[in-house]
């Protein structure tokens, strides 16, 4: 799960990584109060989970209250990369002497943590890698050793930062590593890491991703999730019911059992000209209650014209799966068509049960997909 910048910065400050004074505002009032506390000039940063705010012109500066109110009104109206701005981070503006880049991430393929530092911050590190690779230093980390002073110093020296100046960066290297490891993070990125005109080193942005699997040992993750609203929360609530749910932008609701099969179903719908509304995996051994929750979740999207359910009965018998679907449908009183593909042990019995209840049931995946696409087109 990705964190908002302000959530990431909270972690940074817990690990003694300097951040600018500031706080999160959910309203104009909030923002004005924060400004009163920290003083002008301030920077206004809408909090969204995807995309690049800088490129979207969404980051604004204010030297006085008039400017502040003007910008806030505009920014609270913005929709960035499909996300409505509902929270804004208001921070004291810092005087930048130079921008750096520092990140830790897990290199899944090499199965090792990796640290990346660059003297070219404030832009995508992929871009720096293309245009100025000599300004980047990367290192795999032995997790038993972790980040230590000497490794940080070696990386800094490599890019020509030495002596007293280098020493100022070292604690940030070490503390970010500690946050990364102790908080079960997959990514902890500071871009840019700023040297101010006063020679201080400060993290002015935070891009942090935490491992969802670690929630049982990272109680703060649950707190963060519960504090959020919107779509994010719909996906979260699905997850609570052991359903993997991701919103897409089409009108065909998709339910599958197993992540790969569900992805393949989304793909097939696209191949045959349809627009998937979501990805929803009910996982293995789902009973009627999870089928109900799945349909419920999709209906909450509002714009779905047909639901396509693709079930491969592996260990479970298809007649039991059919029974689960019927129980679910009776409970919900579905008003849009449901197309089911059901295969595996006892598939004939299961299909017959569904068709008796007026639900289209197929053996062949492609036929089911075609039918769903056709129904969605007709629904327009």
């Amino acid at each position: 799960m990705f964190l908002y910048e302000y959530e990431g910065k909270k972690i940074f400050s817990e690990f003694n990584i300097p951040i600018p004074p500031g706080d999160i505002a959910f309203s104009l009032e909030d923002a004005i109060n924060i400004t009163k506390r920290i003083g002008f000039p301030v920077v206004i940063k809408p909090q969204i989970l995807g995309g690049r705010r800088g490129k979207a012109g969404a980051i604004r500066f204010a030297d006085n209250e008039q400017e502040l109110v003007q910008h806030l009104k505009e920014v609270f109206e913005l929709v960035l990369y499909g996300e409505k701005v509902s929270r804004i981070l208001v921070e004291k503006k810092v005087n930048i002497a130079h921008e750096y880049y520092l990140s830790y991430m897990l290199d899944f393929y090499e199965r090792k943590p990796i640290v990346i530092f660059s003297t070219e911050g404030g832009i995508d590190i992929e871009e720096v890698a293309r245009t100025k690779p000599e300004a980047i230093v990367k290192r795999h980390i032995n997790p038993e050793i972790g980040m230590t002073s000497f490794i940080a110093m070696e990386m800094l020296n490599k890019l020509g930062i030495r002596g007293e100046e280098a020493k100022k960066f070292v604690p940030i290297f070490i503390n970010l590593w500690r946050a990364f490891k102790e908080r079960d993070l997959i990514l902890a990125e500071i871009n840019p890491l700023i040297k101010t005109t006063d020679g201080e080193v400060i993290a002015v942005d935070a891009r942090v991703m935490v491992d969802d699997n670690a929630e049982y040992r990272q109680p703060w993750v649950k707190q963060i999730k519960e504090a959020r609203g919107g779509t994010e929360s719909l996906e979260y609530k699905a997850k609570e019911k052991r359903i993997s749910f991701v919103v897409l932008d089409g009108d065909i609701g998709i339910i599958g059992n197993g992540a790969g099969l569900t992805m393949a179903t989304v793909d097939l719908v696209r191949e045959f000209g349809g627009k998937p509304a979501n990805f929803l995996d009910i996982g293995g051994g789902a009973g009627p209650e999870r089928v109900v929750a799945a349909i419920d979740t999709i209906l909450k999207l509002g714009n779905v014209k047909v639901i396509l359910m693709n079930i491969f009965g592996g260990i479970t018998r298809c007649d039991l799966v059919a029974q689960g679907i019927l129980e679910a449908v009776n409970k919900i009183k579905l008003e849009i068509p449901l197309v089911v593909r059901l295969t595996g042990t006892n598939e004939e019995i299961g299909r017959k049960m569904l068709e008796d209840a007026g639900i289209k049931a197929y053996t062949d995946m492609i036929e089911a997909v075609k039918k769903a696409v056709q129904l969605a087109e007709r629904g327009e």
Binding site: G50, F108, I186, N213, G256, A259, G260, L261, F312
Partner: protein, 289 residues
């Protein structure tokens, strides 16, 4: 003889007294898998479907000989269970459990590798050598003996494609569900290298997904000629562009440039590996080989 496991492999089931562990022990026994003992700490002395249960692997090994382990232990106890299997030299260790933190998986895979032990999974359906042994949770009846190997990051999609192959008369030498997590014990390239050496395998199917770079690395191996057997691939999620969100599998996530389906398809194409557009096309490509 197949790779990693075969009909003679003697298996310990860790977490045998749990719901899943007990259920799948029964199905594996029915398939013919040689399960010699189960382990659940604190439950030593019980029996599950006729299999004796011990508190520790070491105690089980006092009474039985065993080669491999399959793990159904809940995620929070998996570090301990996997370490126990590693320290008692069980090999391979098949981890069915979903939801183990990635840092823990990283630590454990590193330890296993240092001891030349294979971990399969976590978050995987296991491994099956059709007609010989099933150490996993897949429905045994969709597989048939043969000479096509399948490596897959998926579960049900693998059953789906395997069934298509079986129905078309293309039996399987081995089917390895490597799991849906971002870090796993056996990656696609590592599995490919094992299959290259396997005399029973004539051709290989890779069922990949978006996320990570395993498919790209596999394609490189093939391009370099390190894998000479014919390969057909399928990539799940190829029409999904969502950034930064996991699709069911924690490993199925696109981060910036990494994990995009187009890169994977391009890499396979450049290595001469046909990528099936529809799952059933896998059979057609295999027939064309």
């Amino acid at each position: 003889m197949a790779i990693l496991v075969n009909k003679d492999t003697r298996v310990i089931v860790q977490g045998i007294t749990g719901r899943e562990g007990s259920f799948h022990t029964k199905l594996m026994l029915e398939y013919g898998t040689k399960i010699v003992a189960g382990v659940t700490p604190g439950r030593g002395g019980m029996e599950v479907h006729g299999v004796p249960v011990y508190d520790s692997i070491r105690d089980a090994l006092e009474h039985h000989e065993a080669d491999a382990s399959i793990i159904f232990v809940p995620a929070k106890f998996c570090r301990d269970a996997i370490l126990e299997a590693i320290y008692n030299n069980l090999n391979p260790i098949i981890v069915i459990t979903e939801g183990i933190p990635v840092w823990t998986v990283m630590e454990l895979v590193d330890m296993a590798k240092k001891r030349n032990i294979y971990i399969i999974g976590p978050n995987c359906p296991g491994i099956i050598v059709p007609g010989e042994t099933k150490i996993g949770i897949m429905p045994g009846h969709v597989f048939k003996p043969g000479d096509t190997a399948i490596i897959s990051r998926s579960g049900t999609l693998t059953y789906e494609i395997s069934k298509t192959l079986s129905d078309a008369g293309l039996g399987q030498s081995v089917v390895i569900g490597i799991g849906g997590d971002p870090i796993k014990g056996l990656s696609i390239p590592e599995a490919l290298k094992l299959l290259e050496e396997d005399p029973q395998t004539k051709r290989i199917v890779i069922i990949g997904e978006i996320g990570g770079v395993e498919e790209e690395r596999a394609a490189e191996l093939i391009k370099k000629g390190e894998i000479t057997k014919p390969v057909v691939a399928y990539i799940a999620g190829k029409h999904i562009k969502v950034q930064q969100k996991s699709l069911g599998h924690a490993g199925a996530i696109i981060l910036g440039e990494m994990g995009k389906p187009e890169t994977k398809i391009k890499a396979f194409n450049e290595a001469g590996v046909p990528v099936a557009r529809l799952p059933k096309e896998v059979v057609e490509y295999l027939r064309e080989l």
